[in-house]
């Protein structure tokens, strides 16, 4: 039985721009890119600077997500709370509902980073925690 | 034999489908049957055929959760539904048939100040237009329904009050259809099951009857009373209706001793429940958000309806689910029915009954019959004519859009 996860608000950069301009952006060292939509990119952690080849790009600090890291061994537990099947490729991004809460997930070899709207993070914490209690 | 076996109604089927009737009503649900019944009983018009593609009551009239109430949010609706509530309470006496009408009261609960204000407002407009809804405090809620957990969900859904409508009732859905069918048939109305309308007969712009899978039938007046399938039928007449069809689901538990009295609803939590005359607990919630004609039930529905129910009424937790089912509802954009003329000669509709039309069966049929007999729209349903969409007089009703139908 693991302790209920604590989601922490994270810093990131959000870029909404012409899809072609987003294709050229590279992940910061040790960081991640999460393409939320063809014209919508999340960069973790926030890079010092980004160059986007779109004069109209919206490049904004993103403070709307909380995140927690789950070790690979916890994947079955998370999968059991999701009506869609996790991707098997690594690395792999995914978006959908986890325990009824909208999340974005970044799967890596060692586990998965789960991002949740900070306004809903307490629900996800509770729901993952209450599942522990049932086991 | 159990006491609930229908032991009275005798349905006198007419085998012969005539080629012409004064009035053809498409759809053998509650509204079609009630219109026929009232034509025969109130106006002596009996050269009438009701055409039903399945068996009578096979649509929503035989699938609904049978709540009869007048606690609506706008004067026009309160007046109309109160008329229906009154007719319902006399229907057993009038037809001599047991429809299991039971006036049990409806408790509509809220969980916060905004909701409390809304329920006060509801009780005001109800009382002003003839429905006996009152605002109730949490203490009064506890007296009316001791089963309610006032601190539901550990306080997250604490009950802050509600409205109570003593007039609210339930009745056995099938029996309403049968009692009306019998009454109509007895007076000479033809009811034809397994007779599907496949097209409309037209003379220029005028509708002159229907094409069925058993041949053409001409009619002085054709009335569409086909429930969730109205868009296709109206399209045949060249009428576009502001209707979208959405599934609505329900479920019952097994049978238990009948001790749970009122109908209990929480729109904020998203469910309602009552106990049927036979002792099943009957539960429902809001419509499926996706428009569809599918009659398939979903497990999601069972879950999302059960959770608030067991939270607010913890005793439900250990009851066993017996059966779930689905109907498809003709949802009008303003959540109010559409009755009467369509702008196409010879073609009338009674539709937009959505998730709330069972309670409207007696008054809906009564008023449609009067319209057909007198060729004038009665005052009670004038606000609900199709014209309102052209004239920007919509009947948006906050009292109708809740979870309880």
């Amino acid at each position: 039985m693991s302790a209920p996860e604590r989601f922490e608000r994270i810093g990131a950069t959000r870029i909404v721009a012409d899809p072609g301009a987003l294709d050229g952006i590279e992940a910061p060292d040790g960081g991640h890119l999460l393409r939320l939509a063809p014209d919508d990119l999340l960069v973790l952690p926030p890079p010092d600077r980004v160059d986007v080849a779109d004069p109209y790009a919206l490049v904004e600090p993103e403070a709307g997500f909380s995140a927690a890291w789950f070790d690979r061994s916890e994947l079955p537990r998370l999968q059991a709370l999701s009506a869609w099947e996790f991707p098997r490729r690594r690395p792999a991004p995914a978006q959908g509902h986890l325990a009824g809460i909208p999340v974005k997930m970044l799967f890596d070899v060692g586990g998965v980073l789960v991002l949740v709207p900070a306004t809903l993070a307490h629900h996800l914490e509770e729901r993952l925690g209450s599942q522990d209690r049932l086991e | 034999m159990n006491e609930f076996i229908e032991a009275q109604v005798a349905l006198g089927w007419e085998q012969n489908l005539r080629s012409s009737y004064d009035v053809v009503i498409v759809g053998g649900g509650g509204h079609g049957m009630s219109t026929a019944y009232h034509l025969a009983t109130r106006h002596g018009i009996t050269d009438v055929a009701v055409l039903e593609r399945g068996y009578i009551g096979s649509g929503n009239s035989g699938r609904n959760t049978t709540i009869i109430r007048a606690n609506y949010g706008i004067p026009e609706a309160v007046r109309f539904y109160q008329r229906s509530v009154d007719l319902y309470s006399r229907l057993e006496e009038e037809t001599g048939r047991w429809i299991m009408h039971d006036r049990k009261g409806l408790l509509w609960l809220v969980h916060g100040t905004p909701g409390t204000r809304n329920e006060r407002a509801r009780s005001i407009v109800n009382q002003a237009f003839g429905a006996d809804t009152v605002y109730v405090t949490p203490e009064e809620v506890g007296e009316i329904c001791p089963e309610v957990d006032m601190n539901a969900g550990g306080g997250e859904y604490r009950v802050t009050g509600g409205s109570y409508s003593p007039h609210a009732a339930t009745a056995r859905h099938d029996r309403v259809v049968w009692a009306l069918a019998e009454g109509a048939m007895k007076r000479g109305v033809h009811v034809h099951q397994r007779t599907a309308v496949t097209g409309l007969l037209k003379d220029g712009d005028r509708v002159t009857g229907v094409m069925t899978d058993r041949g053409p039938v001409t009619a002085g007046v054709t009335v569409s009373a086909v429930g969730g399938h109205v868009s296709t039928l109206a399209a045949m007449a060249g009428v576009r209706l502001p209707i979208r069809t959405h599934p609505l689901q329900a479920f019952v538990t097994n049978h238990y001793a009948r001790t749970f009295r009122p109908i209990v609803a929480s729109a904020e939590m998203g469910f309602y429940v009552s106990q049927t005359p036979r002792g099943e607990m009957l539960l429902g919630a809001g419509i499926d958000s996706q428009p569809s004609y599918s009659y398939r039930s979903s497990y999601e529905f069972l879950s999302h309806c059960s959770l608030p129910a067991v939270t607010l009424l913890p005793f439900l937790r250990d009851l066993t689910v017996l059966r779930q089912w689905t109907g498809v509802c003709d949802m009008s954009v303003d959540m109010s029915p559409i009755m009467g003329y369509t702008g196409v000669d010879g073609f009338l509709v009674t539709t937009g009954w959505g998730t709330w039309g069972f309670k409207g069966i007696p008054a809906g049929g009564e008023q449609m019959a009067e319209l057909i007999a007198t060729d004038r729209t009665p005052e009670l349903i004038a606000p609900f004519s199709l014209n309102r969409f052209k004239e920007d007089r919509l009947m948006f009703d906050p009292g109708s859009t809740g979870t309880t139908h």
Partner: protein, 734 residues
């Protein structure tokens, strides 16, 4: 030991409650037991849950079992106020390729075959406590498994549930001591002493019995079967067989409810006996057909003779098939009955979930209440003693305990309010201007960078469904605000229109990323100057970027409260710091937060509408008295046609401002003119600053006009033009 109605009953490893009770020499059930979960005869109440089948319940030590009432239905459980301890139900979602339901011969073969094809297979079988509950679209199979409930998502479902035995319908079929042949074999093998066994039809395997000859006529006995009577078809002679247990082998039919439930779903198929056909039973002549609803053959005849002549109508009029066994016992016989009336054997009626009767507690497992959102200041509000209310999908502070203090802090000092729930959306792009001109009914072009404009949001029907501000940040870049209620959909709605019109814009919802704190009151400027970075605060309806207490903010000067107000939009990660800095720095001004309750009073005094509270779903701008916010002299915009059309009609109702002496009438209070209904109040409050009640109300036209003396709750009300407070708006511009 299990406790059966107070009697201790021993059990052996592998026993069900049924076998244990029968082995103990008790036979508390009437009717022909099938011991396979099909019939409704062995129902018990287990630990407070009724309608549990004894044949499907493993015996366990200390289990409290009560027999099902023979007269009437079980009582509803008492109204427990707290959940039963240990009642939490496990839940999981499982993903696989193939679900095989039933692990008999054909089920095992199907599972093996799918395994060989490399499919991930999940098997279910009620006999090992893995019971399918229903097959749903997806396909999705819901099951009750030992750990709780499971929703299994897959590509194919194989229904291999075998066959169910046909039950006897004849007089005496409700006596105790009757078994199907498979039940007899199973119980005898488990060591149940069946005494003298007489068998009718196909004989039970491995059970010593006396075969009865002829066709089953009736069972005779007093409570328990004592004799079986058969009829010789040729001679018409009756034969009587004394017995302790009667065993019937009348054939079987497919146990195909799950397959029929899935009818038409791709990927679902039945195999083995579940795909077989029914051994059609003879037309029933007498006796109980449907034990759940106590329907006899006479009842069937009675409704048939009165015109109920098809399967569904018979079911609905007699209630046959609507009880706990969902027609498993009666349907073959009722179908046979209908066929005797000159029709073909009708198909079974629609199969509906559920096939395994889970509790509502189990059905609720894995589901959650609506997830209401919290702002970044949630804990801060709680720490200050706020009473929170759920408001349009958010938890918001309603009051901090002293409405008077909250109110006067705004009107005469400075107050802060968490308005993080406001919708906030950035739009940029070469088409940004053109896009917004088409979205909004106001002109966008005149808005200069650093300036803002109040706008309505209309749908295609010309009805107001939201309102907010358009703030121009630069030539092709805007910040849009919308109400808390609309925040969740606004970005999606904008994107839909941008797509539909092929507009080249970028759209980004900032609602959760940015917190927003409104600093309001005559001293708000002073407080902000103190905390600001030396930059100039914007003038009314202006906005700028500056640091406040070291936090980067977009500062927007507008007003909802009627006092000078600065909305500080900032990264939500900084909300707490900013909130505290404002509280600390404003201590000498007695800064104090206000909640929604007071905010609604403040805005009402200013006559500001709350969309969704004061507006109805068909509120045109004109009806709301907001015609000024629509410019018909600009190009096309959403709702323009509808507005043009409805403007040509006589107005039928208006949202009006009213005031009266004495206490405010409640929301919903009715306006009467000359005794007639003339509308209703949408918002009302006692105005602390004006010393009278003010309200907004819908007023209906009478005789084409809006005149006449208005009474509300019998008291006179006066029509006044809103705003009620500071009508010239001097305070907000100061």
């Amino acid at each position: 030991m299990i406790d059966f109605d107070g009697t201790p009953v021993p059990f052996e490893e592998g026993d069900t409650v049924l076998t244990a009770v029968l082995r103990a020499g008790l036979w508390p059930w009437s009717g022909c037991l099938c011991a396979e979960g099909d019939c409704p005869y062995c129902l018990v109440t287990l630990e407070g849950t009724s309608y549990v089948r004894a044949c499907r319940t493993p015996a366990s030590d200390g289990a409290k079992v009560h027999s099902h009432p023979t007269d009437g239905y079980p009582a509803l459980p008492p109204p427990t106020r707290t959940p039963t301890p240990g009642s939490a139900v496990g839940f999981e979602m499982i993903h696989c390729d193939t679900v095989v339901i039933g692990q008999g011969r054909s089920g095992r073969a199907a599972a093996a075959e799918a395994g060989e094809r490399g499919r991930r297979v999940v098997t279910l079988d009620a006999r090992v406590g893995r019971e399918a509950v229903g097959v749903y679209a997806g396909p999705e199979v819901v099951a009750r498994i030992p750990d709780g409930m499971a929703r299994i998502f897959c590509e194919e479902v194989v229904v291999a549930t075998g066959s169910a035995e046909v039950q006897p319908v004849c007089p005496g079929n409700q006596l105790a001591g009757i078994l199907t042949r498979r039940a007899a074999a199973r119980l005898a093998a488990a060591g149940v002493d069946l005494g003298r066994v007489v068998s009718i039809g196909a004989p039970p395997e491995g059970v010593e019995h006396q075969p009865a000859r002829g066709r089953l006529a009736r069972f005779v006995g007093d409570g328990t079967v004592e004799r079986v009577v058969t009829l010789d078809e040729e001679t018409g002679a009756e034969r009587t067989y004394p017995c302790d247990t009667a065993v019937v082998g009348l054939g079987s039919g497919p146990r195909d409810t799950l397959a029929r439930m899935a009818h038409g779903l791709p990927g679902v198929r039945a195999v083995g006996s579940a795909a077989g056909s029914l051994d059609r039973p003879p037309v029933p002549e007498a006796g109980v057909v449907c034990p759940c609803s106590e329907v006899t053959v006479d009842d069937l005849r009675s409704v048939w003779d009165r015109g109920f002549q098809e399967l569904e109508l018979i079911k609905r009029s007699t209630l046959a098939g609507t009880g706990a066994c969902q027609g498993a016992v009666c349907m073959p016989h009722v179908r046979s009955f209908v066929a005797a009336g000159g029709q073909e054997l009708p198909p079974s009626f629609t199969a509906r979930p559920v096939v395994t009767q889970i509790t509502m507690g189990e059905a609720a497992a894995g589901w959650y209440h609506h997830a209401d959102r919290r702002t970044a200041l949630h804990d801060e509000h709680l720490a200050m003693g706020a009473v929170m209310e759920r408001s349009r999908g958010w938890w918001r502070p309603w009051t901090y305990g002293d409405a008077d203090r909250e109110y006067w802090a705004v009107r005469s000092g400075v107050s802060i309010c968490d308005v993080s729930t406001l919708g906030k959306t950035l739009v940029s792009g070469p088409d940004a201007d053109a896009f917004l001109e088409r979205i909004y009914p106001s002109t966008i072009a005149p808005i200069r960078p650093g300036r803002a404009k109040y706008v309505l949001v209309l749908d295609e029907r010309g009805y107001v469904f939201d309102d907010g501000l358009v703030c121009r940040e630069a030539a092709n870049r805007f910040l849009l605000t919308s109400t808390s209620a609309g925040a969740g959909h606004f970005e999606m709605w904008l994107r839909d229109w941008a797509d539909a019109w092929g507009m080249d814009v970028r759209i980004l919802d900032r609602t959760t990323s940015w917190g927003a704190i409104n600093v309001t009151g005559p001293r708000s400027g002073e407080l902000l100057s103190r905390l600001g970075d030396g930059g100039r605060l914007p003038s009314f309806m202006g906005h700028t970027r500056m640091e406040v207490a070291g936090f980067a903010c977009r500062v927007m000067r507008m007003s909802f409260t009627g006092e000078i107000s600065y909305e500080l939009h900032h990264p939500a990660s900084r909300s707490e710091g900013l909130w505290r800095a404002l509280m600390e720095s404003g201590a000498d001004f007695d800064v104090w937060p206000h909640g929604l309750e007071v905010l609604e009073e403040l805005r009402l005094e200013k006559g500001h509408i709350l969309v969704g509270v004061d507006s109805l779903s068909d509120s045109t701008p004109r009806r709301l008295g907001h015609g000024w916010a629509v410019r018909m002299d600009k190009g096309d915009f959403l709702g323009r046609h509808a507005v043009a059309r409805t403007s040509r009609m006589d107005p039928d109702r208006l949202l009006v401002g009213l005031e009266m002496d004495g206490a405010p009438p409640p929301q919903g209070a009715i306006l009467r003119v000359k005794g007639d209904y003339a509308g209703f109040v949408t918002s009302s409050t006692w105005s602390r600053v004006l010393g009278r009640s003010v309200m907004l109300a819908w007023m209906y036209a009478r005789d084409g006009g809006f005149g006449g003396d208005i009474l509300i709750e019998g008291r006179p009300a006066r029509r006044v033009a809103a705003p009620f407070y500071d009508p010239e708006g001097l305070r907000v511009r100061a």
